[in-house]
Symmetry: C2
Subunit: 686 residues, 2 copies
């Protein structure tokens, strides 16, 4: 990832190193400077106390949010979602901080000293013979100098944008990848990719151009007081095209809305975050170099496209590779005997994806997304039962905390951010543009996709997708990334308002909208009560069943069938303990390698696998089988049920265990549900 | 907590804020400064890449450590413990970084400018008309100025000491409190408190005085090149008196060594960390103000003692209060229906303890320890089954990562820390002093304690405790906290060597030592196979059983019996869903309040409770009952078994469930084991 955005990228170790920021003058040891030292000490103590208090503010905010979320869930209030709630609390605290705290300037007067060269990153200052080290924090626009020390508290609650990109977003995005409902996702992969790539590009381009019109208009009316380039408009288009999966999907999950619609929305919003990040960086790379900043430059445009493709594929590879490495490590060591080590390894490897991508100049967040998908697809199968639940739970908690933090911070930022520029024309223009931009990609794309799809995307689905395009954490993070110039400040303020508006309106309106559009609710097959044990065995080789299979087969495009058979025959057996033995799928001259790579467990499963083989290439059945055989244990988390790795066990289940399993399944855990589903493939007939 | 240490305390939000540190000059927008901007941009990009690489180094180090730990555990290698291993890997990487990387100075020349006043925390520098903000990083001793920019990579892998105190230690300490094996801990509470408080104070005093002798000797020989005060020696005594629970206890756990010895060692090392922190801060508060720095000043001494007591009790209260608040919140809301919310709340409340204590001027780490104990004692009972396992697992992972990070960092620091002062005389003196200091507190204290104890602390236990006094993370964190002066640098280098030596020798020698001292191994009652269901019912009101009770009763001191009955009759019913109803324990005139505060579940349990009431006051049985009734579910984690809150259920358990439970119990989970243990109180006869 090149361009000026680059230099704002994650100083992660700096986060740690820079803790030194507060370390005031070191203890000088003598007694002559005792008074002076005491003063500095008191100041530092005060500053430290303020730091603690400001973090406490956030924690209490989150605590309050959690308690209110509980109250809302308890009372089944649906007109306001938890993220909307977090924002409201943030707003309130922001107002209090803004207008309720005295401006505590005075003791912290800035010192001016001139220097003719470009700024150094380290500064040594000689104060009455002692040397002090200073580090560069950033440029301050001349008009803001008097603001620097205006309000300590406001400054303390204003985080650096990079915190969002490097600390808060990775767990959210990883969790999205890791908890992907793969079956429905892959069934709709073509459409999802179309929406995410084509759709986001179209939306970005349309919004960018419309906003350029708005900017022109503003210039005519005299509402624009500084430069606003065409690339800035396009950047705004990219920023605001990132739709958020959070709110709508939480409601969908709660209401058990249609799974295909869920998959489409989820897939689109997750991938389009990645697309929007990469898009915005490549737009920044395609920067005005001369004065003719808004002329169309074909070479620069193709360079931008090249950068986009390069960063995207690089990040994708990075994520996939670390996922595969983790899968290999967990397969070929017996790490699963020590779940704690395994979880720690999993966590570290996933985090290193982010750093590795950043170190190589790719986009960490995108790499983490694909790493999550790969980990869920391969590594998850090799993990011990305890690690499976532990990793899921760990990332779930991190995701929950990070997300709510971002949303309450958004509320706070509306009042504490000191460089807002609200332009009514721009804001109204932006709302119209995002509406048109979304309409211009949902409806035409759906029409085109419906030409090739067997399961058409119905009008009500299209309207729902149109409605669900709310903007959230990613748009905010992208917008706050660079707020140095006039245009970027205006974009940030507008983005904030759009996020507020869409989260509150869309979050509150989803339930009425679903019923108004007559979209099936409460039919999530993942949650269907499984039929009794008998019906499963009867259905195994049934006619109905094979008819279903053929139907599903025809649905999949040849490309995906090809991928599935490759994945099933080679990747799964190499990377996990499941799938057919490589000795049967590889040509005979690779016998030795095949024998080395195939895990012994596979042979145990082979008998079983042959029976159900036809199931595999379709609808991601192979994955589900692997889940299926540990259904109880995936719930029973900490129990030492690793012995139950044989598929046969589920046939010999006693009915009491069956009942237990049903109970547990109802408790949620999509993974389990997935398992339960394959075991009882009745849903297709329902 | 007062004194100069104060000002070095946690700039936590700064950690986040300071991410800005890398943000070089903001985009200026014009085209005139394009070249200059490009240069800054490239630099920032390079610096960011280095940041990523240095963090990657640590992650790969940890990954390598995890894989090797697995190999060691797999092969049952015990001569080197995982923490020792992490240090060795750290050492190797440190050597590579030190001697393998070129010194990349040059582009980062420090700029000197004079200022006559004391240093400001913020500095504005005017560079050709643009303003840049700088923040104070700390003082640099004049001799070290040329070192500042010497090696970027070395500087990048050198974390700020506060990271250890504010990010890495809290999860470790909280986990220690949260996973305390309460029964054995409370049975030995008197001895543990004596070792922790008296023992640490004695050890600190003896080591401090011996070291003062060594320093005098060094001055005579001419080996001392700068000041070394008496208070510095005492501080060294406090730092080095913090014994580490990690290594020995991990081995004890693995070998199932004697539980009472385990409880003594664990309790001592956990509490003595807290004592050492507070002790070192109060020694710093008792600072030389005039020139007669090593004269004994009674007023200052009592001030120090007052500070010690104030900080300790304040931190204790802070931790207990947030624990109690969390317990009340989780009791009076139905948060347990939403385990994710509950876990998040639990996590946030526990973290806020740390911040609250820091904001009030107490010691966050100590507060977090007592918060952990309170959370485990009260809040844990109110949590949903899923949250119980989730919180345990979450903190276990955090603890594991933080601990291994610290130990590999210690290895790294031996070569990358640039201010080492190794003095052979001081080092040898220190080894002798810690040996004598430990001997002087273990043997006399044990003798005194044995006068009052029924279960005497045997000679072999005393030798084992003497041997197990290894120094670890806490000593390191305390020593690295202030390395500004000559004496502190020498103390830091010596501490590092002592940690290395004790971790390697003691870690490797524990197993031989246990067998040499004939200490029982493999007898952890927590892991005893439970007897069959029948024997349990027969034993219920048995004579043998009540004999056991009387014996245990006599063991507890009256103070603890008082506390137990207060805890059982009032605190437990108020804070949790267990214990007898308040309507029966409170006087009748509090009837209304009692009815409000008692949870409805208690009445369901009452019948059951009355039967076993005599069991409660002894050996923390009340707690165990509450665990006992959810034994399966505590294992089955995610299952919705909350309906099983009636104790009677365990009587009607089918034998298949019984078998399941036994399986699960064997998998570890001390909580479960505790439950299993009370349910079958046979162990005492074994």
């Amino acid at each position: 990832m090149a361009g000026p955005l680059r230099r704002r990228l994650p100083p992660l170790p700096l986060l740690l190193l820079a803790a030194a920021g507060l370390r005031a003058a070191e203890r000088s040891g003598g007694s002559s400077s005792a008074m002076e030292e005491l003063a500095t000490e008191k100041e530092a103590e005060e500053s430290h106390r303020q730091d603690s208090v400001s973090l406490l503010t956030f924690i209490l905010l989150l605590t309050l949010t959690i308690l209110t979320i509980w109250l809302f869930k308890h009372r089944r209030v649906r007109f306001l979602h938890e993220t909307g709630l977090a924002m409201i609390y943030g707003l309130i605290v922001g107002v209090i901080l803004r207008y309720g705290t005295p401006s505590t300037s005075g003791h912290d007067k800035p010192f001016s000293c001139s220097q003719e060269d470009r700024p150094f990153t380290t500064l040594l200052v000689n104060v009455s013979g002692k040397f002090f080290e200073y580090t560069l924090k950033g440029e301050i626009s001349p008009g803001k100098i008097h603001n620097v020390e205006q309000n300590d508290m406001l400054r303390k609650v204003t985080f650096d944008p990079e915190v969002f990109f490097n600390i808060l977003l990775p767990p959210i995005i990883f969790h999205a990848g890791y908890s992907l409902k793969k079956r429905h996702f892959f069934r709709n992969l073509g459409s999802i990719l179309a929406y995410a790539f084509l759709g986001t590009a179209v939306s970005c381009f349309i919004i960018g151009n419309l906003m350029y019109g708005v900017v022109k208009l503003m210039k005519l009316v005299g509402q624009l007081s500084d430069k606003f380039y065409y690339t800035d408009c396009l950047l705004f288009g990219a920023i605001i095209s990132a739709t958020d999966p959070v709110t709508v999907l939480a409601i969908f999950n709660e209401l058990h809305a249609d799974v295909d619609l869920y998959a489409l929305l989820f897939g689109e919003s997750v991938l389009n975050d990645a697309v929007a990040i990469v898009l915005s960086s490549s737009i920044v790379a395609y920067q005005p170099t001369g004065e003719n900043t808004h002329a169309f430059d074909a070479a620069a445009f193709f360079k931008s496209v090249g950068v986009f493709l390069g960063i995207f594929s690089g990040s994708f590879m990075m994520g996939a590779v670390t996922g595969v490495v983790t899968a290999l490590v967990t397969k070929f060591t017996k790490l699963h005997c020590f779940p704690l080590l395994e979880t720690a390894l999993f966590f570290l490897m996933s985090w290193s994806t982010f750093l590795l991508a950043e170190a190589c100049g790719f986009t960490g967040v995108v790499a983490v997304l694909f790493c999550g998908i790969t980990q869920a697809h391969y590594t998850y199968n090799n993990l011990s039962v305890e690690s499976r639940s532990r990793t899921k739970q760990l990332f779930e908690v991190l995701h929950f905390l990070a997300e709510n933090f971002i949303f309450s911070y958004m509320g706070l930022a509306l009042f504490t951010f000191q460089k807002h520029i609200f332009s009514p024309v721009f804001i109204i223009g932006a709302f119209v543009a995002i509406f048109l931009g979304r309409a211009a990609h949902i409806y035409p794309l759906s029409f085109l996709l419906n030409l090739g799809r067997r399961h058409k995307i119905s009008w009500s689905f299209q309207h729902m997708m149109m409605f669900s395009g709310l903007r959230g954490a990613m748009a905010f993070a992208l917008a706050i990334r660079d707020t140095a110039t006039y245009s970027h400040q205006m974009m940030f303020s507008t983005t904030l308002l759009i996020v507020f508006f869409t989260v509150w309106i869309v979050g509150g309106g989803t339930t009425p909208m679903l019923s108004w559009l007559n979209i099936r609710v409460g039919v999530d097959p993942d949650q269907d009560p499984p039929p009794t044990n008998d019906s499963f065995q009867v259905l195994q080789g049934d006619g109905q069943d094979s008819a279903r299979r053929n139907r599903t087969k025809q649905e999949s495009a040849w490309l995906f069938r090809l991928w599935y058979s490759f994945d099933h025959n080679y990747l799964k057996p190499i990377l996990t303990h499941s799938g057919p033995p490589l000795t049967t799928t590889l040509p005979s001259w690779c016998g030795l390698i095949a024998r080395c790579l195939t895990s012994p467990q596979v042979y145990d499963n082979q008998e079983q696998l042959r029976e159900e083989d036809s199931d595999f290439i379709l609808n991601d059945g192979d994955l589900t089988v692997t889940y299926g055989d540990t259904t109880i244990t995936a719930n029973g988390s900490s129990g030492p049920h690793t012995a139950t790795t044989n598929l046969d066990s589920r046939r010999t289940k006693s009915s009491s265990e069956e009942a237990l399993e049903r109970d547990l399944g109802a408790a949620d855990h999509e993974v389990t549900s997935r398992g339960t589903r394959l075991v009882f493939p009745l849903e297709y007939n329902a």
